[in-house]
Symmetry: C2
Subunit: 226 residues, 2 copies
DNA sequence: CGGCAATTTGACTATCCTCAACAGGGGTGG
DNA sequence: CCACCCCTGTTGAGGATAGTCAAATTGCCG
């Protein structure tokens, strides 16, 4: 099912086989790195399962998560050895890894694949730019509310079904710790925690467990999101 | 000279002619919009000359500049009608505009062009993600210093020569107003102004005119950039 | 049940924003 | 050519938001 959404959906049976021949599956545990910031990125990969983060760090240790990667997403930097951010797993994950030069060569021979990759990259760029508005111009409460809405949407799509907010509220297990949410939103963990508490007190969300989340009043959340 | 860096460098003489046939040149004055946020983007374009901005706005009017576009850069969203940000000129500018569906068709027939576009988009995505670290995790002084360094680099490359910081300091004419710098960095105009004043007082930069800028001590600027 | 890490809460502070007044300089019209 | 005006940018005072540091609490795992 990942195949249907991933870039390899551009390929036919024979081509897919050829691509599989140069890739290998790799499993990652939460926290494990696929590669580090600044390291020469000799590989690219496709996410089969799980959620990963892309993160940049300042020299003094502050972290900003600059991308979140879900199943069927593509990661890495083809055609160029330099990568400006590290990638590591947030959950248990399976990825299909390719040697970068192998992949580059394969892509050059398969324009349909490059086309899919281009569409995907353009979409990712758009999403990233929308995120910049949040980072640069939104308040803490707007950030948290926007974030919850986007996660719900993303997780829903990934699960292959439209989550219905209007039916009985669904409890979602967030793949992020509070610290990670802070690193996504450009806030501190304390500020995130306070916003969660406030939303809960207002009856807009419920927090049944550490990472559990239930949206009780989507309209209110959208109003808060700015 | 723009041709050498732009995506059309992938094309030979005949192909270039065909591409030119479907494009037309358009001039823009400072402040003029190429298209607006949310509008169906029926065109794509290549920048021939000048500097443009991509910007997102919240409903209540706050603005975040999410991209800055220099000569030879590509703008617009091929293969998809939705654009999530507006584009307008910061300086006098000339762009080569294509009807999107014309361009899509042309691209489909010229994989080398798509390849160039893919490389360019991947690079832009990287740059954008580095910018997110600045927005989410840097202080006002770090933001301003990082910004000045990046502008110098970008303007230098665009001018086709490496600016030498170690030689006599060069005076650059910034294509941005203070308000625009604020919208790039996620700050207010007052905070930007105060940082400029501080850097000038510290002897790190000089501000010979409204938009003029001279870097006197690059090392100090890098130290401030975090 | 105990230990540990993650999260929450609290008190205090710093940074940046807001609002307001002022300055400067570039262009225009007299 | 000079005076004036308007727009942009600067400066200042005060306040709010989010950060910092520290302690308490809560899940979660063995």
């Amino acid at each position: 099912m990942v195949r249907n959404r991933a870039i390899c959906s551009a390929l036919d049976g024979t081509e897919l086989e050829a691509l599989n021949a140069i890739g290998r599956e790799r499993k990652l545990s939460p926290g494990e790195s696929l590669f580090w910031e600044g390291e020469d990125s000799v590989i690219v990969a496709n996410v089969l399962d799980g959620v990963l983060k892309l993160a940049s760090n300042t020299e003094d240790g502050r972290e900003q998560i600059v991308g979140i990667v879900y199943p069927s997403d593509f990661i890495g930097r083809p055609f160029d050895g330099t990568s400006s951010h590290g990638i590591s797993a947030l959950t248990d994950a399976r990825v299909c890894v390719f040697n970068r030069s192998d992949f580059d060569r394969f892509a050059a021979e398969h324009p349909q694949l490059e086309h899919k990759l281009l569409e995907r990259t353009l979409g990712e760029l758009d999403r990233t730019r929308r995120w910049m508005l949040l980072l640069g111009r939104k308040s803490a409460s707007e950030k948290v509310s926007s974030f919850l809405l986007e996660v719900f949407e993303r997780m829903g799509v990934t699960k292959g079904c439209e989550l219905r907010f209007d039916d009985a509220p669904i409890t979602l297990e967030l793949p992020f710790s509070r610290q990670q949410i802070a690193d996504i939103l450009g806030l501190t963990i304390e500020t995130v925690s306070r916003q969660f508490t406030r939303l809960k007190a207002a009856g807009i969300i419920d927090l049944p467990s550490r990472r559990g989340l239930r949206v009780l009043d989507r309209a209110a959340l959208e109003a808060e999101a700015g």
